[in-house]
Amino acid sequence: MRTYFRNVYRSLITILIGMRQTWRHLFTPSVTLQYPHEKWDLPVGTRQQLFVNIDDCIGCYKCARICPVDCIYIDTVKAKPDEDLGKASTGNPIRQHVVRFDIDMFKCCYCNFCTTVCPTDCIYMTDKYETSVYDRSNGIYHFSKYAPDYAAKLIVDEKEAEAAKAAARAAAKEKAMAAKKAKVAE
């Protein structure tokens, strides 16, 4: 019986102590932010949506290689010897056309590795985070500056050039073989 009343007494007292705390907090401003209407400030260097300044990209594949989830897709076409693609703003010469630079932001785990390895600092994280889309395919961001048909043409050109080179090499080999044979026959 005594325990019972002691329990009741203690419960009441401790609840009152707690209530005093909540009562005090009633008069402090609320910490809740009404999200879509109010937004908090993001610090410098926050890690949200990726962005690539493709004019500076030298197509070195470093970012694609270090990505732990392999969500950066890059295709490059070597520039022709007489072509000058200029330099990135950091001074690194650009030697290839980056015909495809896609990032699958659904696979990205926002680990920030790609931005730390980039030699020209052209891939970086922005402070944009409201990037929901209605379709999975919209989560793949295309950064290449080449129009698809021009990119396709560049790829075909490169393939043709390579094929021509290979053919030339084969022809040269054949010639050499023929010369050898001729020598042996002599």
Partner: protein
């Protein structure tokens, strides 16, 4: 029904076979005693009922499925079923280079990602034989780990209160945890999955003014903890609710290899930060809180909760020392360019994460990709205790027991 009251029996079964405990003032008995009396009584009739608790259940703290055998309201047996959040960490780690595994370790215990980073990174450093790190790196690591311990324990005690029916403390704990996450976001750019501690260093140096802001936070936080204790910890109803259930004796805890607050709640003073100091923990002064059984038997759910509360205070102590002592220096100088441990070398390293010991075993095959990575997860071990501590108790206590073990399913399933 009247018969029972006249017989002064403290419990009886109603017409549907449910256990009813007489809580009227005249009986004046602790309901737990009544429940125990009921268990001992062999007069149980009715069949066992097997119910699935989870995987989608708000009080299982994730996607845990418990197969519970019930006899009326009493739990006879609990079998945890795992694997709903299995992401293949160990196998995946065999395909990616050492440094790229760090973001995957974030996702083990996502409430204490810094501690997971630290555990893995220290294992790799042991494998590489990398012992000389810049002082500043060591201090930053300890500061991050301790801040994350506070954040993780705040989550644990908040949700524990929620399991017992207290909603306000949960929101208060989240309010303060949010401030720590803000600090981390400023530091690393991310709020939860930091990928901050790297092999041989850290990803970024502390921003200007971070140390001052961190100290400011500690000044703000300590009074908040007092308020929190007034609100929840010293609440008599909460104590009565939790101090008599989920009893875990020390020998059982040791036999099950329980670690962290679960082990310390049973009165065993074992903390790797003190007993096997890694990083620079041997330089700081702090206590190892253990369960004292203030309101009931030692090793109760309340004791585990109490250990967490006290650990937050100890972490604040460590943080104050570390933030005062932190030296200047370059944090990137020791980051190795290539991580290629010699073939066949292996290393196991364990460290104290908020939920217990996290251990990483790594074997090298000479390339930059590990041959095998094994993660010893504390939550996985601790959840196996759920049957031991909930047997013979009510279903409502089972929920509190899960909360008192404080599991994170990301780490249980890996």
């Amino acid at each position: 029904m009247f018969n029972n009251i006249f017989k002064k029996q403290r419990y009886y079964f109603d017409s549907e076979g449910l256990l009813v405990v007489d809580m009227s003032p005249s009986s004046a008995v602790h309901y737990q005693e009544a429940v125990q009396a009921a268990t001992q009584d062999a007069g149980f009739s009715g069949e066992d009922m097997v119910i699935n608790f989870g995987p989608q259940h708000p009080s299982t703290h994730g996607v845990l499925r418990l197969e519970v055998v019930l006899e009326g309201e009493l739990v006879k047996k609990v079998t945890p079923h795992l694997g709903y959040l299995h992401r293949n960490f160990e196998k995946h780690a065999e395909y990616i280079p050492y440094n790229e595994i760090v973001p995957y370790t974030d996702r083990l215990d996502y409430l204490a990602a810094m501690n997971m980073n630290l555990g893995y990174v220290l294992a790799v450093e042991k494998l590489l034989g990398l012992t000389e790190l810049p002082e500043r790196v060591e201090y930053i690591r300890v500061i991050c780990a301790e801040f994350n311990r506070i954040a993780s324990h705040l989550m644990a005690i908040g949700t524990f209160g929620l399991d017992a029916g207290a909603i306000t403390p949960f929101l208060w704990a989240f309010r303060d945890r949010e401030k720590i996450l803000d600090l981390f976001e400023w530091l690393s750019g991310a709020r939860m999955l930091y990928n901050y501690i790297w092999v041989g260093g850290v990803a970024r140096d502390l921003p200007d003014g971070w140390v001052e802001k961190a100290k400011e936070f500690l000044d703000y936080f300590e009074p908040m903890m007092v308020e929190f204790n007034n609100l929840l910890t010293h609440n008599h109803i909460f104590i009565e609710r939790t101090a008599h259930i989920g009893i875990l004796p020390a020998d059982v805890a040791i036999n099950y290899a329980a670690t962290g607050p679960v082990l310390r709640g049973s009165g065993v003073k074992w903390d790797l930060r003190r007993d096997q100091p890694y990083s620079i923990y041997d330089r700081f002064e702090f206590d190892i809180p253990v369960g004292e059984g203030m309101y009931g038997p030692v090793g109760s759910a309340f004791d585990r909760y109490w250990v967490r509360i006290r650990e937050i205070e100890e972490s604040v102590k460590i943080l104050r020392q570390a933030l005062d002592q932190i030296p200047e220096g370059d944090v990137f100088e020791a980051i190795p360019r290539k991580i290629r441990p010699p073939a066949g070398k292996e290393a196991y390293f364990r460290s104290e994460a908020p939920r217990g010991e996290i251990g990483f075993y790594i074997r090298s095959n000479g390339s930059d990709i590990p041959d095998r990575v094994k993660c010893r997860s504390s939550c996985f071990v601790n959840i196996s205790l759920i049957d031991e501590i909930s047997r013979g108790q009510l279903v409502a206590d089972l929920v509190i027991n899960i909360g008192s073990i404080d599991i994170v399913l990301g780490e249980v399933d890996r």
